[in-house]
């Protein structure tokens, strides 16, 4: 109390300034509460409306009944989301780390500056535009492209495109966080750049890169718009990954379709599915936070 600048001078303040000080300070707290209230409201509303439909059967069975989905569960969505995330990661993790290594190694060069700019711009590309790109590259049946139709491969690789710049950005940052003295020490011992990268830089940055991958997965898990263009939806389990039978279900798509139906029962199912998606996303989020916190603590950078 003694050392605080506020108390020291508050004696001679005019009532107006004292009032303004309290008012503005209080307003910041109030507006912060406004800002995070959607988080609390969304969790509350999803819990309140979806809880009744949420049980083990909901997670472990395929949708059935009429209209489809009023009975049964969301197994197709869970499996499909998993398939899409695996496909997306298998494209974006190698490419993203590769590009991140380049940005780290080439550092301040003009070319690296351009690559960094483009990578940041790719982060901001709207998801519908990714959908269009994915459609014309993977799904379209005319012109150039892979002609895979609406399929898991098309949807997953489109999500992979979205993930690449995220993994790139975080990989570069994680590599920059490896102390320069480690890198210089490795070079001083006569190691080549490849050896330094393999045995010093990458192991040091592993936790950060892992965080980046999880962040990317977190981001693409909730993506719906690109899937409208490339994968759409399947009420069953996938039998192949490309072609006309290749579409998979997807949690986000499932919520979208259920919410669009004029059936109260499906809205309840949608809220329960939202609850599952929220649970996965928030658990991932907390996991990422614990990971960063843990790795910082190991590196001794947190007081």
């Amino acid at each position: 109390m003694q050392g605080s600048p506020m108390n020291g001078i508050s004696e001679g303040l005019s009532p107006f300034r004292r009032f303004r000080n309290l008012l503005l300070g209080g307003l910041t707290g109030l507006f912060f509460f406004f800002a995070v209230s959607p988080l609390l409201l969304i969790v509350y509303v999803a819990w309140n409306q979806g809880r009744s439909a949420l049980n083990w059967e909901f997670i472990s069975t395929l949708p059935s009944g009429f209209p489809l989905g009023t009975e049964g569960g969301i197994l197709n969505g869970i499996v499909g989301s998993l398939v899409l995330v695996v496909i997306a990661s298998s494209l974006s993790v190698p490419v993203g780390i590769w590009a991140g290594l380049y940005l780290w190694q080439d550092g301040k060069s003009r070319q690296a500056g351009l690559v960094r700019l483009l990578s940041d711009l790719l982060l901001g590309v709207p998801s519908v535009v990714w959908g269009i790109v994915g459609f014309y590259v993977f799904s379209t049946s005319t012109g150039m492209g892979f002609h895979w139709g609406f399929s898991a491969m098309a949807g997953g690789l489109t999500l992979g495109f979205i993930m690449v710049p995220i993994v790139t950005r975080v990989t570069e940052q994680a590599l920059r966080d490896v102390p320069m003295s480690f890198i210089e020490g490795s070079y001083a011992l006569g190691a080549t750049r490849w050896q330094t990268m393999r045995s010093v830089a990458l192991p040091g940055a592993m936790a950060g890169i892992g965080t980046g991958i999880l962040l990317g997965i977190l981001n693409v898990l909730g993506q719906t718009a690109p899937l409208v263009f490339t994968n759409y939806y399947n009420t069953g389990l996938p039998s192949s990954l490309v072609g006309s039978q290749g579409a998979v279900g997807d949690l986000a798509m499932q919520i979208f379709i259920y919410v669009h139906e004029p059936s109260q029962l499906l809205h309840v199912k949608a809220m329960a599915a939202s609850l599952v998606l929220l649970g996965i996303v928030l658990a991932l989020d907390i996991g990422i936070r614990l990971m960063t916190w843990g790795s910082r603590k190991i590196a001794g950078r947190v007081g």
Partner: protein
């Protein structure tokens, strides 16, 4: 300690030294070659980003070309959208997008800036970790969940309470606030998009607030300023470019929001006259009708051209915002990754 004799004894062995030098000359050459090869392999990583960017631009340009060629620049202000007569104009969708984005920005900017101040200056230190986490978790909530929340919570709230209230109070003087209280419309979509961009704007603003030199804050206190005066008149003014940059990034995010808007905006290609009207945005039109449009090449091209307009807007806006923030913060551009 080496004696001079031993040194002198080493010198005459010229043949041995020459051999050694040969070997030494060989080695850096080999290493140099693998180093160069490694450098080229790494360059491929940079190239992959260039290629990805090129693919995005190229696909949009090529697929939109029939429409660009057919309608030219008047595509932007023609308001007829008739697939049967093959006449397409972007105006209603551009206006709808700007309405939703505008409402989102107006509602979210004050909330985001005050929250950023709370995060950086007002939250007590034991609380600051938790409140930052809450803010960043909000950024991770998927767009579709916001949309579902909007349908089950915001729409009834607007329909039964806020919109009748607006019509009763402000609406009696200005027609702008009047309208049918549907719940769905640009207001619902704008509010929900506003919720979604608050975390982005707030975290970027917070990061730029943390860059203000401590000396400046201390100088302000030394001149007798209160905490609020220091924070609002000194720090906030100092980071104005950062705030502008974060708002620009928020604009870029809001313009492209799709699923929540699609569920809430009402999807009517009319130009909104009042704040309670329904509308249609570029992104929601694309997500809603693109799969029907692909049957007709010109229809598809017109839709892709809308996507191209969206892409150009976001690229321009994000370049600008990034430039402002980089100048202020030098390198780290945190908080730019988030839900979609």
């Amino acid at each position: 300690m080496e004696t001079p004799e031993s040194v002198r004894q080493d010198i005459p062995k010229a043949s041995e030294k020459a051999e050694g030098r040969l070997e030494i000359r060989e080695e850096p050459d080999l290493a140099g070659r693998s180093e160069r090869l490694f450098g080229w392999i790494l360059k491929g990583g940079g190239l992959s980003i260039l290629v990805l960017f090129g693919v995005v631009i190229l696909v949009c340009l090529v697929a939109a070309w029939p429409s660009i060629h057919r309608f030219g620049i008047s595509f932007l202000w023609s308001s007829t959208w008739n697939p049967n007569r093959k006449i397409f104009g972007a105006f209603p969708y551009l206006v709808g997008t700007l309405w939703v984005t505008g409402i989102a920005l107006i509602t979210s900017i004050p909330v985001a800036i005050f929250s950023a101040l709370f995060l950086s200056d007002y939250a007590p230190s034991w609380l600051s970790g938790i409140v930052s986490t809450l803010m960043e978790m909000l950024a991770g909530i998927p767009s579709i969940v916001f949309g579902a929340f909007g349908i089950t919570f915001m729409v009834p709230l607007l329909r039964d309470h806020l919109e009748p209230f607006l019509a009763r109070t402000l609406g009696t003087r200005w027609d702008f606030f009047n309208g049918d209280p549907l719940g769905y419309g640009i207001l619902a979509a704008g509010f929900v998009v506003g919720f979604m961009i608050v975390p982005l704007v707030a975290t970027v603003t917070r990061d730029s607030l943390l860059m203000v030199p401590q000396e400046m804050v201390e100088a302000s206190y030394a001149l007798g300023a209160t905490k609020a005066e220091t924070v609002f008149f000194v720090k906030l003014r100092e980071v104005m470019p950062g705030i502008v940059g974060s708002v620009i990034l928020g604009f870029g995010r809001a313009v492209g929001e799709t699923m929540a808007v699609l569920l809430l905006v009402g999807n009517q290609p009319s130009i909104p006259q009042t704040i309670q009207d329904v509308g249609y945005t570029i992104s929601s039109l694309l997500a809603n009708t693109f799969t029907y449009a692909v049957i007709d090449p010109l229809y598809a091209a017109a839709e892709v051209e809308l996507g191209l307009i969206l892409l150009v807007i976001t690229l321009a806006v994000n370049t600008l915002g990034r430039e402002l923030l980089l100048r202020l913060m030098g390198g780290r551009l945190a908080g730019s990754v988030g839900g979609g």
